[in-house]
Amino acid sequence: MPACEPPRFEGLVGWRIIADRSALDTAPWPAGSHVVRISPDDAFVIGAAEPGVPGDEHAIVTPELGFAGAAVSAEQVADIALHHIEWKLPAGPCVAQGQIAGVPSKLVLHADGSALLLVACAARHELEDRLG
């Protein structure tokens, strides 16, 4: 059994932005927001204030409430990696995506080894069950 406490998830409130890479690179994010760069053209901005992307008039900017997240310690990350991840976990800071316990998930890895674990709300119950 896992040695650590299982992650505690909560629904996240934010904005999803699909835009040109250069526009995302230079976007002025709202103060206090936390930006998760899912891919070069895809950002998840955690925070209530609507961000703008002045560099791309065709950008998709839409509220994003489809993710649940859990802050996990470096010890929890190591525990999850040992028991539930079959792929090689990269060193942070970076965003790693893949199956965790068979559930598509994202790990926003910080330099100190801790991370924000993201999962679609629709699959949250599965991940909680399997990590718990």
Binding site: I18, I60, T62, L82, H83, E126
Partner: protein, 714 residues
């Protein structure tokens, strides 16, 4: 002195005994006979230990209280194990260089690698690390007392040594036969073997009643004995090496050395796992199977529990003797040892089945939930027929959150959608929507859905629930292939959707604060508040009745659902599940892609040519459709009616006794009092009357219900 229970009888054992040694100490064979190597190479000591079959008792400590049962005589034990498995822990580990085996050659290999600066991990069965599988990757699977370990490694060195060759001759399944090292282990444990005879290649046969009492030699002489030691040399212990021929493993020590094959077997059981005799092999050979691999497959020799560890030398010798060519060993398959279902399945999960934000509401309403398209969805709420009538006569809610939903935006978006879809896109006005199918390059139907235009360069696309997971790949792949500038965002799991459907659907929206002027007309869509909740309302119809899909943020799904149920209570509102929905849409003649279609269904085959505009310059699948348009095509999806009960979906459709197709959808229509169905006819000429389930069915035009489509526009 402690005790274990062997076939219901307590036997005493000494500290350090394996179960096999304990049985021998009690004067018994640990299984039912056969040569004992006591090295884990063969399955001749396998038994059911604490409920788990196929346990090698020579490798299992005689733990006080252990309960051992011999496998059934003449048959295999039933699969499975203890009724209640404890959870098997899986650990994933990485290692640079792994050495399997810690004998002389393994220890030397590890030392050499360490001296070169490598990080080396040594796995040795004697230390509790039982390697049961080697896979491409490379990766290796290790069974330990405390769980299963999956090692992702860079280099593998196999130092597994050599296994002693078992005798093949008449009587070789009797008790009282040992390899030299096995006999040494037994004696080291203090077990008296009595009068022991040691023989080698001069062995001809064993004689006795279940237990060897005489050994017959090649010269015809017979020697009395209590036990016999047979020394026929050794062969590489190479099961792991043979397991992954594409994995670059280094083999060292006796496992890598050349070993002479034993003399060709003439008589007796060659494969103790499957009780396959030399006579069996002769039968296979005489049928023309002369390649080692074919001899193995046709006789199953080498496919048993030891994966050829025992029979391989003899089988190769058999083929070499008859063909004149010494064959190379065949491939082995994981697992090298029997593993329990719990061990094999440990750490793996079946597909993830998602829950809509309304999952709890469905549960509260007593819904029967089932798995469809990767989601838990309500099948019914207890009475599908009353749910059906709620849609046809009143108003009903359906949870359609599972529909694929995708935002697309960009300067090239119209061009991209024109190329993707066979229908026109450029002329869809802002605020309007259009039904579309999507095709692959062969012109086969992949999925269907709606295109909703939100702005000049912005659209919302919908897909079926089952097709949603591949839709994003499909769109992205083509857009990137064409080099068009289009942004793509999948909203399937971020947006909920509730279908308000029925002749009173408009009235319910009115009660939810939507003015008649704001309510979208058929195939329109608008962003308006419903019950105070911002929704993207799409007017369409899958049920055949007026329908409004309310797309919204998932954190407001429950609030919206509860508000609509409360406001709709005076209207007799009921939710409907998939069972009713499938019947409703069947009456309307709507196909479900993947259920009514096949992998090679073209629009023509499913009577949807109207959704294809071949006059367009280009779209995915156009060339294939043009090329095949003039060809005769015997396949066609038809509607049928017949007296009830509705036949099972999948039932064969016959014409004059010949099978011409099958039923894809079937429903006892409460509206018509008979069955309505869809199914394939795949032979020309298509018949007007067919036979299904021994009864007559008549081809019928679809839709069965509301052919003018007036009700959806109410």
């Amino acid at each position: 002195m402690s005790r274990v229970v062997y076939d219901g009888t307590p036997i005493e054992c000494e500290p350090g005994d394996s179960l096999a040694i304990a049985a021998l100490r009690a004067g018994q064979h640990p299984a039912r006979g056969g040569t004992l190597c006591l090295a884990g190479d063969c399955g001749n000591c396998s038994a059911i230990v604490d409920g788990t079959p196929w346990v090698r008792t020579c490798q299992t400590e005689a733990r006080p209280g252990a309960v051992v049962q011999r496998h059934p005589n003449g048959s295999h034990p039933s699969p499975g194990g203890p009724e209640h498995h404890t959870q098997v822990t899986v650990r994933h580990r990485s290692a640079d260089h792994v050495v399997i085996g810690n004998g002389d050659s393994g220890a030397a290999a590890a030392a050499a690698l360490r001296s070169e600066g490598h990080d080396v991990l040594v796995l040795d069965e004697a230390a509790g690390d039982e390697v049961v599988g080697v896979f491409d990757g490379p990766s290796i699977i290790v069974r330990r007392n405390d769980g299963i370990e999956h090692f992702h490694v860079h280099h593998i060195t196999l130092a597994t040594g050599a296994a002693e060759v078992h005798p093949v001759c008449p009587g070789n399944l009797m008790a009282g036969i040992f390899t030299p090292k096995a006999a040494a282990k037994v004696r080291a444990a203090g077990v008296d073997l009595g009068n022991v005879v040691t023989v080698g290649a001069e062995l001809k046969a064993f004689h006795g009643e279940g237990r060897v009492s005489e050994v017959e030699l090649a010269d015809g002489s017979r020697v009395s004995c209590d036990n016999v030691i047979v020394n026929l040399g050794s062969a590489p212990r190479d099961v792991l090496a043979r397991m992954a021929p594409l994995v670059p493993v280094q083999i060292v020590g006796p496992a890598a050395e050349a070993h002479a094959l034993p003399a060709a077997p003439q008589e007796g059981v060659l494969c103790p796992c499957g009780k396959i005799t030399v006579e069996d092999l002769d039968g296979v050979w005489n049928k023309g199977f002369h390649d080692l691999e074919l001899v193995k497959r046709s006789s199953l020799c080498g496919t048993g529990t030891c994966q050829g560890a025992v029979c391989m030398p003899h089988l190769r010798s058999f083929v070499a003797d008859r063909s004149g060519v010494e064959p190379k060993p065949f491939t082995a398959r994981p697992a090298a040892r029997q593993v329990s279902m719990a061990e094999a399945a440990a750490g793996y999960h079946i597909d993830t089945f998602r829950r809509t934000p309304l999952h709890g509401e469905h549960t509260k309403l007593g819904a029967t939930l089932d798995k469809f398209g990767g989601w838990f969805r309500p099948w019914n709420y207890g009475d599908a027929v009353s749910e059906y009538w709620a849609v046809r006569e009143g108003v009903s809610l359906g949870d359609v959150s599972t529909l694929g939903k995708m935002m697309v935006s960009g300067p090239d978006v119209v061009e991209a959608l024109e190329r993707l879809y066979p229908n026109h896109v450029h002329d869809i006005k802002v605020g309007r929507s259009r039904y579309v199918i999507n095709l692959n390059e062969r012109g086969h139907v992949l999925d269907d859905g709606m295109i909703c235009r939100e702005g000049d360069t912005r659209f919302l696309l919908t897909f079926t629930s089952g097709g949603a997971s591949t839709a994003e790949m499909w769109v992205r792949d083509w857009v990137e292939t064409w080099g068009l500038k289009v942004h793509v965002l999948d909203r399937t799991v971020s947006h909920g959707a509730i279908n308000v459907t029925g002749p009173l659907a408009g009235e319910l929206l009115r009660r939810a604060g939507v003015n008649d002027d704001d309510r979208p007309k058929f195939l329109q869509h608008r962003h308006i508040d419903v019950a105070g909740i911002p929704c993207h309302v799409m007017r369409l119809s899958f049920t055949g009745e007026a329908s409004f899909e309310l797309h919204h943020q998932i954190d407001q799904s429950v609030e919206l659902w509860q508000a609509l149920m409360e406001l709709g209570a005076p209207l007799g509102i009921k939710p409907h599940g998939l069972q009713a929905l499938f019947g409703l849409r069947l009456e309307k003649g709507h196909v479900i892609v993947g259920q009514d279609t096949e992998l090679d269904s073209t629009p023509r085959r499913i009577n949807m040519d109207w959704a294809v505009k071949l006059e367009k310059d280009a779209f995915v699948g156009r060339d294939a459709l043009i090329r095949t348009a003039s060809l005769p095509d015997e396949r066609r999806l038809f509607g049928f009616t017949m007296d009830g009960p509705a036949p099972l979906e999948g039932s064969v459709i016959r014409v004059n006794g010949d099978v011409v197709g099958h039923v894809t959808s079937s429903w006892d229509s409460p509206m018509y009092g008979h069955a309505v169905l869809m199914g394939w006819q795949k032979r020309l000429p298509h018949a007007d009357v067919v036979e299904i389930d021994g009864r007559e069915a008549r081809v019928s035009a679809v839709p069965f219900y509301d052919k003018e489509g007036a009700r959806a526009r109410m």
